[in-house]
């Protein structure tokens, strides 16, 4: 790691740069072998770190916390939704029901809703992009490292849809990779997540956003945008036709 720009490259790979800073870092990355090696190594490491144990608060701890807050609020034990299985048969059964629910693939309605929600939340939060790049060689490995899946990512700039970056998001409780495109003043997003045998929704329009869903390989894809119908159809066609 001899390149003096390596911290800047790291910031870029971590999605900390935008605008001209990101563009400068990207053009440096494209011409610096040291930083390309760093990018590859960082992606591999990030991949490995997803295997590291994520510890979770136990039901016993949740129960203790509820008790503690009860005392603090100076009240008799309240029925708190913090306590899951730890407090009695009824709640255990409820918790078991939820666990079962989580194992089932999401319904079509949940998926439709979830895609539009994720898209609008990102738009209103101004957080559509975590890694800014027009280079699919940068976006694809970033998504692979952060979302744990390897979606197809192609820049359709020649067809009017400019790849601007990517992020990770959640769709009905599943981690999804999102490739972000710009079409005029509109954003078009392509979500990808592992197929769990869910029945995918029909193409639809909700709250002013069009959605389309399809399966390819072992992944589910969804496009979402507020562009007009013709442009949306065109994008979906391009996205469906992309190959490795």
């Amino acid at each position: 790691m001899s390149c003096e720009q390596h911290l800047n490259t790291q910031s870029y790979l971590d999605g900390e740069l935008d605008g001209t800073a990101a563009a400068a870092a990207e053009s440096h990355l494209n011409s610096c072998a040291d930083c390309q090696a760093q990018a590859a190594a960082t992606a591999d490491l990030s991949d490995a770190l997803r295997k590291v144990t994520r510890y979770r608060a136990s039901d016993i701890l949740r129960h203790k916390l509820t008790k503690q807050l009860d005392r603090e609020s100076g009240r008799s034990p309240a029925k708190s939704f913090w306590v899951g299985a730890a407090s009695g048969g009824g709640l255990s059964a409820l918790a078991a029901g939820f666990a079962l629910f989580l194992l089932l693939p999401p319904t079509a309605a949940t998926l439709s809703q979830s895609i539009v929600d994720a898209h609008t939340a990102a738009l209103t939060g101004g957080k559509t992009i975590m890694v800014a790049s027009s280079n699919h060689h940068t976006v694809k490995p970033w998504l692979a490292a952060h979302a744990g899946i390897s979606p197809l990512v192609t820049d359709f700039a020649d067809q009017g849809f400019v790849l601007t970056g990517g992020r990770t998001d959640e769709v009905a409780g599943m981690r999804a990779a999102v490739a972000v495109y710009r079409h005029g003043n509109h954003e078009v997003e392509l979500f990808t997540w592992p197929d769990r045998g869910a029945h995918l929704p029909e193409s639809a329009m909700a709250k002013g956003f069009r959605t389309a869903f399809w399966k390819m390989g072992d992944l589910d894809y969804a496009a979402v945008s507020d562009v007009d119908a013709a442009a949306f159809q065109k994008f979906v066609g391009l996205a469906k036709a992309q190959r490795e």
Partner: protein, 165 residues
């Protein structure tokens, strides 16, 4: 349940696992992590009226880290439980093969061995998706230091975890 309590639970509950994960990785002990999180949630609840928007998760993690620091001063560390002896809480891991478990344990041990300041930067970035600015606020260090610690943590792990990559 009163309104304040309800709001606190609604906003803090989603981050309880993150709080616990950070406490566990900082203290490297399940017993200490329990104590730290209890202490942190109580302090957070008491200070909740002073929380004026901003990122709830970063706010909670800051309190967790402070509680870990003061717990460390009080007990002067009990030494950490070797990871082999701890119950491993695997995240939705369908295959559970022996090899995967082996890799997980090895990676866990390597991360646990990182020096504190590198370990916390890495956990906050790679597991909790905190931005540099948030990590700087949580750990009370300048952003430049966060960047160099992250780079150092990654470089160290690339060396030691070579066979897992």
């Amino acid at each position: 349940m009163d309104d304040r309590r309800r709001r606190f639970e609604a906003q803090a509950l989603p981050h309880l696992d993150a709080a616990y994960n950070l406490a566990r990785w900082l203290s490297r002990s399940p017993v200490d992590a329990d104590d730290i999180v209890q202490d942190a949630m109580l302090r957070a609840f008491r200070a909740f009226d002073g929380f004026r928007g901003g990122d709830m998760k970063a706010w909670l993690l800051t309190i967790v880290r402070n509680c870990w620091l003061s717990a460390g001063k009080a007990t002067k560390r009990r030494g950490h439980t070797p990871l082999e002896d701890q119950e491993l809480v695997a995240e939705g891991d369908p295959e559970h093969s022996a090899i995967q478990q082996g890799t997980r344990r090895r990676l866990d041990a390597l991360v646990a061995q990182l020096p504190e300041e590198f370990r916390e930067a890495l956990i906050l970035r790679e597991m909790e998706d905190m931005s540099y600015r948030e990590i700087a606020e949580i750990t009370g260090t300048p952003i430049g230091t966060v960047m160099s610690r992250l780079a150092r943590a990654r470089a160290l792990l690339r060396e030691t975890a070579r066979d897992c990559l």
